[in-house]
């Protein structure tokens, strides 16, 4: 993990939500991640794993209260975003770092035209630009995402779901951000529309050389879009590596369980092998490995001691006592 070259580097980030009813909910725990320039890193995990909270942490939009960043740093181009003032963050957000949300229906303002919504970011981040110039840029952005420019004065409800998500993408990319955070960008869309949007995102990302943090639970989307993948469980990285490491040589039992749970559209029909149980309550995480209660390989050490993220090979790391041991035996034997 080279720290100097990364565009984004998250170090020991912890985020908690504290409420009177639920107590202290530890959503993100000591999380460290690096994102290189031009790469797409997939954040994969199930509901409640903390994926969206990580994204909100980077954007500086963790709702407070009840959310609180309790420790860590988020370096973007060498500067710690967590030490920036609100005003400084506002300049970065939407300009250098922008975000695509899951549900385009709620991300767009229903009472403003789509043109006004694209122009809004441009006005905010390019104060020197004239009215006409901004308007032209907005039309151009619409056309970039495949919507005819003459529809600029229409309202969100006049567009279909797939087109609304295109508009959200146009807004996010209007200022050519260096980092794009896409939080389940196609989950609310039908598969044929999803295919169009993924194709569009890949194309634009290549043209603008944007780095992307893609949050998803869909391993199919990950296979298609990501260079590297981080598997998130109970607010921490349990396995991280290149897409090839994760898809071909996964070593964490949770990652293996995720793949075994998937019904397949190709190949043999076999009985699914689900992971037993459910994710631990984030307000009451177990002392040892958070996955241990559901893990078929768990031993005493797993119940007692929290595992560290240990190297498997090259860039491939895994947070599992057993997998790391096996790897060492493998090396000793080989």
């Amino acid at each position: 993990m080279v720290q100097t070259e990364a565009l984004l580097s998250i170090r020991d980030l912890s985020i908690q939500y504290v409420t009177r009813d639920m107590g202290c909910c530890r959503a993100v725990n000591n999380l460290s991640l690096d994102l290189q320039k031009g790469e797409t890193l997939g954040l994969v995990g199930e509901t409640g794993a903390g994926k969206t909270t990580i994204a909100r942490g980077i954007m500086g939009i963790v709702p407070n209260p009840p959310g609180r960043i309790t420790q860590g740093s988020i370096f973007f181009k060498g500067e710690d975003l967590l030490r920036k003032k609100k005003k400084e963050m506002r300049k970065i957000r939407g300009d250098k770092i922008s975000m695509i949300f899951q549900d385009p229906m709620t991300a767009l303002n229903p009472v403003d035209t789509v043109g006004e919504q694209i122009e809004e970011v441009l006005k905010l981040h390019q104060p020197g630009a004239g009215k006409e110039e901004i308007r032209q840029k907005a039309v151009q952005m619409l056309e970039t995402v495949g919507i005819p420019g003459e529809r600029i004065d229409e309202y969100p409800h006049q567009f279909s779901g797939g087109m609304k998500q295109r508009i959200v993408i146009a807004i996010a990319l209007a200022c050519s951000p260096e980092l794009l955070i896409a939080d389940e960008p196609t989950t609310a869309l039908d598969v044929t529309i999803q295919a169009q949007i993924l194709e569009l995102m890949n194309k634009l990302k290549g043209e603008m050389n944007t780095s992307m943090l893609l949050i998803t639970h869909d391993l199919g989307v990950v296979a298609e879009m990501c260079n590297r993948v981080a598997i998130i469980y109970a607010g921490e990285v349990v396995e991280i590596g290149t897409a090839r490491d994760i898809f071909k040589n996964r070593s964490h039992p949770y990652t293996q369980g995720l793949f075994n749970s998937l019904p397949s559209v190709t190949g043999e029909k076999t009985k699914l092998k689900p992971i037993p149980g459910a994710m631990p309550d984030p307000s009451n995480l177990p002392a040892g490995c958070p996955f241990a209660p559901r893990c078929g390989y768990a031993c005493e050490k797993c119940m007692a001691e929290h595992p560290e993220l240990l190297p498997v090979e090259g860039e491939h790391y895994v947070r599992c006592w057993r997998a790391a041991e096996e790897e060492q035996h493998g090396i000793a034997a080989g």
């Binding site: 199930e46 509901t47 279909s160 779901g161 039908d190 598969v191 044929t192 529309i193 999803q194 295919a195 169009q196 993924l198 194709e199 639970h217 869909d218 391993l219 199919g220 989307v221 990950v222 296979a223 298609e224 897409a243 090839r244 898809f247 071909k248 369980g257 995720l258 793949f259 075994n260 749970s261 998937l262 019904p263 397949s264 559209v265 190709t266 029909k269 009985k271 699914l272 092998k273 689900p274 992971i275 037993p276 459910a278 994710m279």
Partner: protein
């Protein structure tokens, strides 16, 4: 043996802009102990179909023949009786169960509605059902908000099965669940089908799930069936251009998998006052003049494999 037969079923909704053809002339049959998968994208009418079959809404025309009897025009009293034989599992178990009832009260409710048994008998039946669907007796007095998605769906399944129905409409039963939990519920539903001899209609937008659970599949597009065949044939050799595009669009979780993806262009035709012609024509890469003004009929192309496309033979080189 045939359990359900649907003939020319239609459901039109009146809207301010005209008549919305939600389900437009569907005909199919389901045999006992089989699963018919119904797939399609949002707005294709698959949920409306499920509701029509259970009589939760009235149909506009057509017949629904259940176990030899036409149930499309029956009295409310008779419809209530049918509840014992036909049940539904919904997508969002949190929205479909009463937040103020405990797990055991929710599962017992159908028995109480029909006055089936004394309190003791009911509680025995509930305990038995909880065991069958894998709900621990420990949480019998828990409320829905205390349960995770997987357990809630187990409660939904237990409530649907407590009357021991023969026929169950499953409307996106695993779509709201995470993959590891989804697999638990799919396995449970298949085991229950086997042990209780259930017949399922499995409505979903997820192609990999439908392949896993179904014997036969209906592919719907804007209220109509565009293709139907047994599950293997649909996935091995899809005939209709829409099914081909739909299957090619599914992202495969394998980095070495390369598909020729068919990206659909064009906008979806409105289901309100649809004109004559194939409803998929506006997005179809093979569409010709004829497709825009002549309705294609669902015809058998190869043994038991039907498609509704004028040029199905040319497209597939048959």
């Amino acid at each position: 043996m045939e359990l359900l037969r649907v003939e020319h079923l239609k459901k039109y909704f009146e809207t301010p802009r005209g008549l919305l053809h939600a389900v437009d002339d569907l005909s199919f049959t389901i045999s006992q102990r089989q699963t018919l998968g119904v797939v399609g994208e949002s707005g294709c009418g698959k949920s409306t179909l499920g509701r029509l079959l259970l009589h939760l809404i009235d149909n506009t025309s057509g017949k629904i023949i259940f176990d030899g009897e036409d149930i499309s025009n029956i009295s409310d009293a008779k419809r209530r009786e049918l509840c014992k034989r036909m049940q539904m599992i919904f997508q969002d178990p949190f929205a479909s169960i009463d937040p103020r009832k405990t797990v055991s009260q929710t599962i017992a409710e159908p028995l109480r509605v029909f006055h089936l048994g004394s309190d003791r008998e009911i509680s025995e039946k509930v305990a038995e059902m909880m065991d069958l669907v894998g709900i621990s007796p420990r949480i019998r007095n828990a409320y829905p908000h205390e349960l995770d998605g997987g357990r809630r769906q187990r409660v939904g399944i237990a409530r649907a099965l407590i009357l021991r129905p023969e026929f169950v409409v499953c409307d996106e039963p695993v779509s709201a669940l995470d993959v590891s939990i989804q697999a638990q519920i799919i396995n449970l539903m298949l085991e229950l089908q086997e042990s209780l001899g259930l017949t399922y209609i499995f409505i979903t937008h997820d192609m990999s799930v439908v392949r896993h659970v179904s014997d036969n599949i209906l592919v719907m597009y804007l209220g109509q069936v565009v293709e139907t065949a047994n599950s293997e044939d649909i996935f091995a050799s899809p005939l209709h251009p829409y099914t081909q595009a739909l299957l090619s669009a599914v992202p495969v979780p394998d980095i070495d998998h390369k598909t020729e993806r068919i990206i659909l262009r064009g906008e979806i035709t409105s289901p309100i006052n649809p004109k004559h012609g194939c409803r998929f024509a506006s997005r179809c890469i093979y569409a010709k003049e004829r497709c825009f003004h002549e309705d294609p009929a669902l015809t058998e192309v190869t043994g038991g494999h039907c498609a509704a496309c004028h040029f199905v033979k040319e497209i597939n080189g048959l």
